[in-house]
Structure formats: C-alpha cells, structure tokens
Amino acid sequence: MSKYCLKENHVTDEKLFNQRRAIIKSSLAFSLLTFSNLLFSNDKKLIFSKDMKYSTNEETNTFKQITSYNNFYELGSGKRDPMMNAEKLNTDDWTVSIDGEVKNKVTLSKDDFINKFPLEERIYRLRCVEAWSMVVPWIGFELSHIIKLAEPTYKAKFIAFESVYDPENLPGQKRNILAWPYREGLRLDEARNPLTILSVGLYGRILPNQNGSPIRLIVPWKYGFKSIKSITKISFVEKMPDTSWNLEAPNEYGFYSNVNPYVSHPRWSQKRERRIGEFRKRDTLMHNGYAEHVAHLYEGMDLTKNF
C-alpha cells in the first residue's frame, strides 16, 4: 500500500494537468459567448399592447408550425427550406426607404419600426392561396402610421412594396423562379384599412428570418402571398404597381387576390382550406372572415374579373 492511498485512475493525466489554465480560460470564454448570445439574439422580448377589436379568439397555431412551414421562395421553394436556410438572410443594417409621391421621403432602420410605432398584438387568420391556413399572433402596427408619416400627395393612389434582393446569399434568388425582387402592392384605401399592419414580431418576439424579418406586411383578408416579407422599399405611386405573382401567371393571381371561396384558382378550388394541425378541411370564408371590415372597399366591383 502506497503512502498517499491514491489509485492510478484518480491521478489527473499529466498532459491535461499542464493544460489546466487553457481549459479554464476556454470554458470561461464559452460561457461568456453563450451569455452575449442571450443578450443580442432575436429572443429579445417586444413591448406591446393586446388588441381586442380585430383579433380572433380562435386557437393560435404553435410557434413551431408558424416558423417551419413557410412560403418564402427567396430562401427556397420547399415548405421547410425557409427554416433551414433562415441564416442566409442577413438583416444587419437593414433600412427601408419610403419614397414616391410623398411630402416626406424617409429612410427607417429596423430599430425605428420597433421603437417609433405603437406595437400591438393582432391575432389574425392567414389563408394561403394553396388552400391551407393558420392563426398567427403577429406583433406590429397599422400601416396607416407610415402613411401619416410619409404624407402622400394627391397623386398617390397605390403603395408598391419591394422585398430584399441579395442573389449572392439567398438560395432562391440564384434561379429565376420569380421576377426578383419580390414585389407586392395595395390600393391606398386598402393600405389605410385598420386591419392592414406591418409586423415586426410573432408570439411576443422579433420575427424569425423565415417569417419575413425584420419587417413584413400583413393583409389578413388577402391570400398570404400579398403579405410581402422582408420589405426594403415602400413607394407611393399613381398607377397600379406590378406584383411578382401577377407577372408570373396573370390569369391566376390578380392584383387584389382577396380570399374568395366563390372564385376558384384556375387550377384548384378555393372553397375549402386545411387549418394546419387539423385533419379535416374547413370551409373558406369570404374575405377570410373579415368581410365586415373590408367588403365595402370592393362595392360595385366584379370580383370574378378583379380577382
């Protein structure tokens, strides 16, 4: 029996013993790194009020469902691609220019959108043109705030939105799947409707990249593709602007693209939809259930022609 009663396997290996300082340093550095990630990550909580007037009381879809089943062709055309490629969208130093027929041409940073406007939670139904739907708790503010800020001139009749253009990093933009950059538009009265919001968050947190970070449009009575993601430019214009899906297939995707169960897509029915998470399909509602707020915008219009 040895004097110190230490077994061989209780003795630290000499190699490890000599590296002890480096090991402690690296573990410290690691914990610092994790801590700083917590400080600066997208997990930052937003400050917002809860809207009762326009929000639905339907059960919301889970964060996981909302963030891993997306149509965001810039990040790939598969439903899971946007989640998988999310980090390829670089939102550092993001600015949005507001121009066109306005008195105040301004450029806003992504922090401006979080700090300058009254954020509220709006729980909206979202109906995709592909006949599926979700209920999403967006955090955002009414687009009318931007309109007030910009002060459009009498010439402005429409708003044109433009999304991010970065073919070097965005995998979907390496091919001509759509006319890039993605473009959308609204008539000015549609844009002023209190239902129309710009969203910066979801479930109380900053928008994940795959959902259109840092700022996106939400128009809940229109098919999902109208709600353009990752906006870089908002222009007030006189004439009806070009929109990407309309350029792709003019007979299938009109400028208005209001949710309408009575006007089918030329290739499939729009009568029913699958709420994500449910097995049986449910009936699609006129204007996605928001008719009381928006039907008056289209009075006298033939909705089979202005689809």
Binding site: K64, Y69, S77, R80, W132, S269, R272
Partner: protein
C-alpha cells in the same frame, strides 16, 4: 415484395407519424407517395437497361409497387376530400391536374393485371401493351406541371430522366440489331 414495397411503406408510415417536424402531414404524405410511385416507375424503366440483367423478377415487383403507391396516393386524396363525391367529381371534371392523374392511374391498371401469369397467358401481346408505361409517365409529368406554381425543378428533373431512358433504350436497340 417485402423488401421492395412493404418495408419502404413501413418506414414511410413510421417516419410520417414520428417526425413532428412535418407540419402539414396529410398534404406531405400525398405528395410523397406520388413521388415515390414516380421513382418506382423510373426504376422499373431503368432496370432492363442494366447489362447483367439478373433483375427480371424485381423489375416486375417495382412496377406493381409503383401501382400500389399510386393507389395509396389516390386513396389519400379521396380521404382528404372527406369522401365528398361532389368535390371529387368537380375535380375530375374541371381540374387539369386531377384529370391527367386519373388517366395515369387508369392506364396503370391493365399493366398491373397483365403482370400476373393468368392474364399473361390470356393476352399474348402483353409486352407490347406495357409500352403504355411511357404514356403513364407522360401523364404524370403533366400532373406535376399542372400543379406547380413557379418552381419547375422537379418537372425538369423527371423529364430529363425520361429523356435519358428513351435515348439509352434506342441505343441498346440499335446495338442489338447491328
């Protein structure tokens, strides 16, 4: 049959049920079974091209498995429409992608039946009959074309595969007749 149809089916079923990363499971499994049927069709067409063709029996198994997968694809579509005949009929009459889908499915039936000895004995020209596999393939391509919104990647991929198979078959044909 166990290795070629039942095992993949079991793996597919457990994957669909267990993987909670798949959000829209019904839609996902309908699309996937359709593409599996097409891949099996590609294998059925390609196996006879192999030089050391010891795969005669397996070619047939891939063919009938393609038929089974397309039937599952179809049955899931019917279930997804809650067995509602008016919806299914409306699709069958007015939706191009459904119409060509039915054509492909219907043309698979005579090939399926004549893959059994009983019908092979009755119909001596069954091999000629099986040339309709190219029509089936064409209707499947049309089926995909009519449902795509913008990204034609898979359509181009499977069209190119058909083209290569046809060229190789021609090449083999001339070689044999030299």
């Amino acid at each position: 049959m166990l290795n070629i149809f039942l095992l993949p089916l079991a793996i597919l079923t457990s994957y669909i049920f267990l993987d909670d990363e798949i959000i829209n499971k019904t839609s996902y499994v309908i699309t996937l079974t359709g593409y599996i049927a097409l891949v099996y069709l590609v294998i059925t067409l390609s196996l006879p091209l192999l030089k050391n063709n010891n795969f005669k029996i397996k070619t047939r198994l891939f063919g009938i498995s393609a038929f089974y997968f397309s039937m599952i694809h179809f049955i899931l579509y019917v279930i997804d429409n809650s067995y509602d005949l008016t919806l299914i009929l409306e699709d069958a009459l007015f939706r191009n992608y459904i119409i060509v889908g039915y054509l492909a499915l219907l043309l698979l039936i005579p090939m399926y039946l004549t893959s059994f000895q009983y019908f092979k004995d009755k119909i001596k020209d069954w091999k000629k009959l099986h040339k309709i596999i190219y029509m089936v393939y064409f209707f499947i391509l049309a089926h995909i074309y009519f449902i795509i919104k913008a990204d034609y990647y898979y359509l181009i991929l499977f069209s190119s595969i058909l083209l290569v198979i046809i060229i190789l078959k021609r090449y083999n044909f001339y070689k044999l007749n030299e």
